[in-house]
């Protein structure tokens, strides 16, 4: 036991000290958070300034309506959000107005302008919003809504439909999404937030598996190629060495998780993430740790048969691709919870962690299913460790060619 602790501490301390580990520890989650949270942050941001927008309205009937309609939009400080300017006041030809307005936009005198074209019946046919940037989704959306309203109103009026019909039509239908779970609790957590959270968890798991797997395999290659391994196993049994390595790697993983949880908590504290996002946190964490242990034990066994960096990279890449497989079926899984592939993946140890992390947040997974999948994970970790130990015992002493599957099976049966 003392030797196992010695080995695991050595594996842990020597790896924690590496620059690569420290970088991955902090950079990985920051990158993932930036990629997943930034777009929504940018979209949500309300521009706090008053926007000056020109209107080129050849019919003359839209401007007044739009101006009165846009008065209802106010900034948080009580100022009007938009100042609409009627560009037809310039008394110039359409082409000339366009030229002047384009210049004003480029000089930032106005934030943009809207061109409304109508036919001979003064019905709207075409609209164009010109500004010096794309992505004026909010203001364009508001124009569309307003023009749509007046178009409908005019059409109905012409057809002789009373005004109150329009009011009735205009009441927007809103369908709210609620997730039902046991005990009549409902949750109205934003679907995208939960989905992204699962994806973040899966990405973190994958990065961790790939990263620490490579770390482990690389250090084993070093030990093998320098025959250090012979000094090690003339001091401790292969089982002690394997257990020590697994433990050291797990310690490394726990360090990573702890720091990442801290980052996550600080995000909650700064209200970037709702606390409700962590509703399924503990089962997710359990799958995360089980998944990590499973892959770590797999890596120790296979890693012991590898002799070169190149082989090591192949092995780690293939294994992590399998881990990523469930994300590919994620969308069908969410749309159709009974999707057969999802069900199957929920019982394969290679994919249980990712599938279950995904499903926990988008479906109601029964307690029995959680229980069974965890039992499967624990059992397979146990079995894989046993098998890995057998491969490890011989693998670490075999140099030269990578053993074939047949040879490995023979080692396991030995």
């Amino acid at each position: 036991m003392k030797k196992i602790i010695t080995i695991s501490l050595w594996e842990y301390v020597e790896k924690v000290k590496t620059k690569a580990f420290i970088i991955s520890l902090i950079i990985t989650p920051l990158l993932i958070i930036a990629v997943t949270l930034l777009p929504s942050l940018l979209l949500q941001e309300d521009s706090p300034k008053v926007e000056v927008i020109g209107i080129v309205d050849t019919s003359g009937i839209f401007f007044n309506y739009l101006e009165s309609e846009f008065r209802k939009y106010e900034l948080p400080n009580g100022q009007k959000n938009y100042v609409l300017v009627n560009l037809n006041q310039l008394n110039k030809s359409y082409e000339e107005i366009k030229k002047i307005a384009d210049k004003d936009v480029l000089k930032n005198l106005i934030d943009g302008y809207l061109i409304i074209e109508v036919d001979e019946n003064k019905d709207f046919v075409f609209g164009e919003f010109r500004s010096n940037l794309f992505g004026n989704f909010k203001v364009v959306g508001r124009f569309e809504e307003a023009i749509n309203y007046i178009k409908t109103k005019n059409t109905l009026e012409k057809a002789g439909v009373p005004d109150n019909v329009l009011e009735k039509i205009q009441v927007r239908t809103i369908i709210q999404q609620k997730k039902i779970s046991e005990g009549d609790k409902t949750s109205d957590l934003d679907f995208l937030t939960t989905f992204f959270l699962s994806v973040i968890f899966i990405l973190l798991l994958m990065m961790m598996v790939v990263y620490s797997g490579q770390l482990l395999v690389r250090s084993m290659i070093e030990e093998k190629s320098s025959r250090l391994i012979e000094m090690l196993i003339s001091s401790s049994t292969p089982d002690e060495l394997l257990t020590g390595k697994l433990l050291g790697l797990s310690l490394l993983g726990i360090t990573q998780i702890l720091i990442w949880v801290l980052i996550g908590m600080s995000l909650v504290a700064s209200s970037l993430l709702p606390i409700s996002a962590f509703k399924n946190f503990f089962p997710m964490l359990a799958y995360f740790i089980l998944g990590f242990l499973f892959y770590a034990s797999l890596f120790v066994g296979i890693g012991s048969t590898v002799n070169t960096e190149q082989e090591a990279q192949h092995v780690t890449t293939y294994l992590s691709l399998i881990l990523m497989l469930p994300v590919v079926v994620a969308m069908p899984a969410i749309q159709n919870p009974d999707f057969i592939v999802t069900k199957v993946f929920s019982y394969i140890p290679l994919t249980i962690p990712t599938v279950m992390i995904l499903r926990l947040n988008v479906q109601n997974v029964s307690g029995i299913e959680i229980f069974f999948s965890m039992i499967i994970m624990v059992l397979s970790i146990f079995i894989v460790t046993k098998v890995s130990a057998k491969i490890f015992r011989i693998g670490i002493l075999s140099y030269g060619n990578k053993p074939t599957l047949k040879e490995m099976i023979k080692w396991i049966n030995e």
Binding site: T6, S226, R227, L228, E230, S234
Partner: protein
């Protein structure tokens, strides 16, 4: 005392070690010799309990070798390497801890050996910053830091300059006087000849010769002389007394028929050539090695 009895190790159909027996007494250096691929490493690995023998017994101090013996064994593998990016002191303490030394003892012993081998100044350096020779010294310390009673050294001298070689040799001899059981595996016959009292020569997994080095030399064919002379050596082939001769720049090593008395042969030579050196010599281990392995391989 280490006793290996009828050791056999098979890998699939190939027999790596075929019925090898040896006895290593404490306070003596045992030479395990043989060409590349003879089965030395496999023999060593079974003694270390790294691999299980197919059959045969390995007994150390009266008990069959087991995992309990790990802390008594020191092993220096042939191919060298250490954790390159780790500090010297950390690596040494790690290996000592693996042999069940406490942290404090490990540090003390590490400092003791670093000082003894004159490399104290590298204590806190990373391994990769050290020269090859100094890295080898670190590895040697890692093998002996726990004061093992059975020491297995595979090619301990390669990579050292003559001064360091002398240092390592003195170190090994000091272990002999402490009564340690030492197995030395090497291709450097001159050093083996100077250090080993008993040897085992193996080829293709089988024993070729074994026993006291002095006995082996005596039995090998003893009637050898070294003859130094000026002039051409082609005359040597005309003498029926000579079985074999190896010619060098200024002298020839000559093996005479067993019934020839060297002094009589010298008298005969003086009449023919200008002799400037004459000595009766033992066959070198190097020569024994080459001759025996050649004969065995035929």
């Amino acid at each position: 005392m280490l006793i290996v009895k009828n050791l056999v190790k098979k890998f699939n159909s190939t027999v790596a070690v075929d019925n090898i027996s040896l006895t290593v007494n404490p306070g003596k250096i045992f030479g395990l010799l043989g060409p590349n691929g003879a089965g030395k490493t496999t023999t060593i690995r079974t003694i270390l309990n790294i691999i299980k023998p197919t059959s045969g017994e390995i007994i150390f101090n009266g008990n069959p070798i087991s995992y309990d013996y790990y802390n008594l064994i020191g092993y220096l593998p042939e191919e060298r390497g250490l954790y390159k990016r780790s500090r010297v002191i950390d690596v040494l303490v790690y290996f000592a801890a693996l042999k069940n030394l406490s942290n404090r003892n490990a540090t003390n012993f590490a400092d003791f050996w670093l000082k003894k081998l004159n490399i104290s100044e590298y204590r806190n350096k990373k391994i990769e910053e050290l020269s090859k020779g100094n890295q080898q010294k670190i590895q040697l310390i890692a093998a002996i830091i726990h004061n093992p009673s059975l020491l297995i050294l595979d090619e301990p001298f390669t990579g050292f300059d003559p001064i360091n070689q002398q240092e390592v040799k003195d170190l090994i001899l000091s272990f002999v006087s402490e009564g340690k059981t030492i197995i030395l595996s090497t291709h450097q016959m001159e050093l083996a000849e100077k250090l080993c009292e008993d040897i085992l020569l193996i080829n293709n997994g089988k024993e070729v010769s074994s026993g006291k080095l002095s006995d082996i030399k005596k039995n090998f064919g003893g009637n050898n002389i070294r003859l130094g002379f000026t002039g051409d050596n082609s005359f040597l082939k005309h003498f029926p007394e000579i079985i074999k001769h190896d010619n060098y720049n200024n002298y020839s090593d000559i093996q005479l028929r067993d019934d020839i008395i060297p002094a009589e042969f010298l008298k005969k030579m003086i009449g023919i050539i200008d002799v400037n050196h004459f000595s009766v010599i033992e066959p070198s281990l190097n020569k024994i090695f080459i001759d025996l392995i050649r004969k065995n391989s035929d």
